[in-house]
């Protein structure tokens, strides 16, 4: 069994895999890595299955002391990562010796970094996934973000001598959206504003939703949802404030706000790398013109 000890937990570090599926009927959210592509990539570099859990580090890197020999790979945000004070490269296999210390800082680029460890991290398997659900306190370690002095263990797997190096996909602040079920609730003016203005990501955003700040969007008069309706992560809701909310992996399964649009899948991963106070622009695509 391999292990490490958490010296500093960072801002929000949780164990996440590709998430749980098939339980939204009972309002159990998917959870899982927000940038699933980066989490998979870190695993693939090490020769792990892409679906293995990784440490999702949000906004500020944790400091970790490894207790055993292993290999790790880091993908996603660049957080000024160092081992024993020396700069290291991301997106490649890093050899770790017992008592090595991994440190990092605030992101230089991106917002979420994923640390994969060679082998399977020991975490609570809840409904087929190791992802931390901080609301149900299930999955991960006790269903909570990692804290100082916690020990993280994993089932060792033979170290590889591959030198696979992958590139992180380019960061992108223009996100692709499609018209949602209530798109036509928007006034023409709001439809235009939705895709022409630059939105700022509000600091009260979290894993349930990204709150946008821009010029208010209005709904046509005499039209409203009378009942709660189903929602998925990636859906863009418009509450009465006129400021859209983009739902993320930990979101509710139903909601009462108009679903004006939704993000395409890879745009959700891109959104996961935009920092708080960062800017984004939405670009609407025609559903019928998709390949």
């Amino acid at each position: 069994m391999g292990s490490l000890k958490v010296i500093k937990p960072g801002l929000l570090t949780t164990i996440q895999d590709q998430g749980r599926q098939g339980l939204l009927f009972y309002a159990i959210p998917r959870c899982g890595a927000i940038d699933r592509q980066a989490s998979s990539q870190a695993n693939l570099i090490l020769g792990n299955p892409a679906s293995y859990p990784t440490l999702e580090c949000t906004g500020l890197a944790p400091h970790l002391r490894f207790l055993t020999k292993t290999q790790i790979a880091i993908s996603g945000a660049e957080m000024d990562w160092k081992i024993n004070g020396k700069d290291i490269a991301t997106n490649k296999t890093l050899n770790i010796e017992p008592s090595d210390i991994l440190t990092g800082a605030v992101p230089k680029t991106g917002f979420r970094s994923y640390i994969a460890i060679k082998g399977l991290i020991e975490a609570h398997n809840f409904a087929g996934s190791f992802s931390t659900d901080t609301y149900l306190n299930a999955g991960g370690i006790a269903g909570r973000p990692i804290t100082k002095n916690v020990t993280i263990e994993w089932k060792d797997e033979p170290l590889s001598d591959t030198n696979m190096e992958l590139k992180s996909p380019a960061l992108e602040n223009t996100l692709q959206i499609y018209a949602g079920p209530e798109y036509d609730f928007l006034t023409e003016n709001a439809m235009a504003k939705l895709i022409s203005q630059i939105y700022t990501i509000r600091t009260d955003s979290n894993r349930t939703g990204i709150r946008l700040q821009g010029k208010e969007l209005s709904i046509r008069t005499n039209i409203n949802l009378t009942e709660s309706v189903p929602v998925l992560s990636g859906f863009i809701q418009l509450p009465p404030s006129g400021q859209p909310i983009i739902l993320l992996n930990d979101c509710q399964s139903t909601g009462g706000y108009p679903r004006i649009a939704y993000l395409n899948k890879s745009s959700i991963y891109k959104l996961g790398q935009v920092p708080l106070n960062g800017k984004i622009k939405l670009n609407i695509c025609d559903l019928n013109q998709r390949s």
């Binding site: 098939g22 939204l24 409904a127 709660s228 929602v231 998925l232 399964s253």
Partner: protein
């Protein structure tokens, strides 16, 4: 792409959103949650998720989906409405500011409201919102209280509340905009079980008024809604 589709002679409008999801909308007044459950139970490989409210079903598509699968949807057999279980849910009514809202907005006294709600037969109508939240139908229109404009930040676990046409139970603490009328000592979900909800669609629920010593005894007994009613 859109059209209409009939499942077990219930006609619904559908719209397909790319290769992402399908929305089925009820055309009539009757709830479509049971159709949602029936689709879920099929475990179709072309679906990743099914979410059902009373008026809409959302089907999240997997990469396996093909247009011909619409036919498989229309052939779904409805889950038999098994002999619906009749369950009692003990409730301790609590003093709270929410009671002022309830009496003001319904024009009823607290006593009259309690008497009426204790006589009501509720039916589990849908899941959704948050894990373990249960929407129950049956609230007479004179007992209905609109949701709060600004939701409360914290509603404690196992609160029983009314909002719009529903009565609901918050299995876990959460923010919420409904008016809390009391609390139950019984758990209605078990996250170690799949599905985690101990209640099923169409279960009939009636409230039973309990007071402090009994509330505490039941809480200590760790009974859940099923074991309390002699079911396992």
């Amino acid at each position: 792409m859109s059209g209409s589709l009939s499942i077990n002679r219930i006609v619904m409008d559908y719209k397909i959103y790319g290769r992402d999801f399908i929305i089925l909308k009820a055309k009539g007044q009757s709830s479509v949650t049971n159709i949602g459950l029936s689709i879920l139970n099929q475990k179709f490989d072309f679906l990743e998720e099914v979410i059902a409210t009373e008026t809409e079903i959302l089907l999240k598509l997997s990469s396996e989906f093909e247009i011909s699968d619409l036919k498989r949807l229309s052939e779904v057999e409805l889950v038999a409405t098994r002999n619906a279980r009749t369950l009692e849910l003990p409730i301790q009514f609590q003093e709270s500011d929410d009671w002022n809202r309830v009496t003001e907005l319904t024009g009823m006294t607290e006593q009259a409201y309690k008497e009426q709600i204790l006589k009501t037969k509720f039916t589990v109508g849908m899941f959704g919102f948050l894990p373990g939240f249960i929407y129950m139908n049956g609230l007479a229109s004179e007992l209905q209280v609109p949701r709060k404009k600004v939701p409360d930040k914290y509603i404690p676990k196992n609160s029983v509340a009314v909002g719009g046409k529903y009565m609901g139970i918050y299995s876990l603490p959460s923010p919420g905009g409904w008016s809390v009328i009391g609390r139950t000592p019984l758990s209605i979900m078990d996250i170690n079980e799949m599905p985690p909800s101990l209640l099923e669609l169409a279960d009939q629920i009636s409230l039973v008024n309990i007071f402090q010593p009994e509330y505490q005894d039941l809480l200590n007994s760790e009974l859940n809604i099923l074991t309390y009613n002699g079911l396992t």
